[in-house]
Symmetry: C2
């Protein structure tokens, strides 16, 4: 059984009280806190033969920190629930802890609380808390016809890396992308300040997540395959680019006339016809690439 | 596989954005948020033949809401991560959801977010968020020699209920106490305002949790068995009263001279000699009643 306490806070003035009591206490700017939770299950969301404890920590943190960024927020804290089998090595948990801490450090957040219990299945539940800019939360539901759609981050890299891991590869850029996503955290609040009408991070796959945004907004989106391709490395297939999740790129709908930053790739436009198109056409199986979605990853 | 979305918010003005987006947004009074997380595992922290989905929802929420109360806070929101086997009935998850919602309603909190994933083992991870009074957080570490120790809530009822369930009973007041704890939530902030120096909720057992408080404060506590007995029903053994957890009574150390409220039972005094005594003597096996502690409950 691993030890009872997860890592302590970093040197963060917002952590008023760290781990070790009944609860942690955070200072919150602006009177609002944004919160998100995600659960990862061994054998589904990660495999211990594909990823080290450190990698799983990085990935578990990244997935949740990206949700805060996708709201236009800056993450400040993580709480981590760990259900672990007796036979799990303490060293694995220590490396998990290191990975959580290091990923948090990218955004200046800290692990402020946790709970460790015994379980036949290794399950990691992470809750991220964050602050919002004055522009407030950027939801999925604010896209309007005429908006331009921008993406920042990588597309299909994690899915391609998973394909390579399954084929026996154990190293390389794409394999690393599967093990340790690199979400463009700082772009979330920047997109909020730019006036993004809607935003989401790509966790289920680009078409699926743009579909979520379009449905929530009551609009449609037409994407430009060539523009998307600039965000996918050469070894990434078109299917992985369109349907692969877990890279946590940020997709935002911005009003036409926005001062377009160089780091944001223009990939499409919002229209009135519902649905998600690529180059004006429906993509066969769009949103149906279940073998790459977060939900069914649990059956891999 | 259960549905992807956990329950929506109640009519709570502090929930600025509820479930369905990348994150939830809460209004936070006073610029501070208190947060706590706990994980429950099927077969350990609950058994589906002892407790309904509804009961498990009530218990999972109560355990976390009590942590917020033990900090002197008022809970405002829960986030719930559910890892569930394919074969788990949707109706069980719906009842879990009802239980979470109803327990939250006791304190005016809402379930604002969640994640549901597939897992061989049923695991429920709950994070509670809350507000603090102007008196701030009441930690475990502030007790001082000369303080009086008060308890509000039930002692040993859940442990006695578990004993009866194991013996085949399926109904009755103590069995219900195991299934659905009734922590005295509102007393947490009241104790903070009264000036409590230190506070903890009884989740591992009275002696163990008073021990945590004493250790964190660098003091000792002498408890009065007869006074404790007034908080345990007739069917509760002395061992269950002293070592049984999961009722989530609140234990607070208050300065001598506190205007003592009638709802708070005076059960002991803080001294300089380290350790926890009952009627001036060490209790054999104190803190060692592992079969009732949260940690080892996972092996039941």
């Amino acid at each position: 059984m691993p030890g009872p306490v997860l890592p302590g806070p970093g040197a963060d003035a917002r952590v008023l009280l760290g781990p070790g009591d009944d609860g942690a206490v955070l200072g919150v700017a602006g009177g609002r806190v944004v919160a998100s939770t995600d659960v990862l299950v061994d054998g589904g969301h990660f495999r211990r033969d594909y990823s080290s404890g450190y990698d799983v920590g990085r990935k578990a943190a990244a997935q949740n920190l990206a949700d805060i960024a996708a709201m236009g927020g800056r993450a400040t804290a993580l709480l981590v629930g760990l259900a672990a089998p007796d036979e799990l090595a303490v060293s694995w948990v220590e490396r998990l802890t290191d990975g959580l801490r290091d990923e948090c450090a990218h955004v200046g957040a800290s692990v402020v609380g946790g709970d460790v219990v015994r379980s036949p299945t290794l399950v990691i539940a992470v809750t991220a808390l964050g602050e919002l800019t004055e522009r407030g939360p950027v939801t999925r539901s604010g896209a309007r016809p005429g908006d331009l759609v921008g993406v920042v981050g990588r597309l299909g890299h994690a899915a391609a890396g998973l394909r390579l891991l399954r084929a026996g590869e154990r190293a390389g850029e794409l394999v690393d992308a599967h093990r340790r996503p690199e979400p463009p955290y700082e772009r979330g609040p920047q997109l909020a300040v730019l006036g993004a009408h809607a935003m989401i991070d790509v966790s289920d796959g680009l078409l699926a997540d743009v579909g979520h945004l379009a449905t929530a907004s009551g609009v449609g989106v037409d994407l430009d395959r060539a523009a998307l391709r600039t965000l996918a490395a050469a070894g990434v297939t078109d299917e992985e680019m369109l349907a692969g999740g877990d890279d946590h790129a940020l997709v935002a709908a911005l009003p036409a006339g926005t001062a377009w930053p160089e780091w944001l790739t223009l990939v499409g436009r919002v229209g009135t016809a519902l649905g998600v198109l690529v180059d004006g056409a429906e993509v066969a199986g769009a949103g149906g690439h279940e073998h790459f979605t977060g939900g069914s990853a649990a059956t891999d």
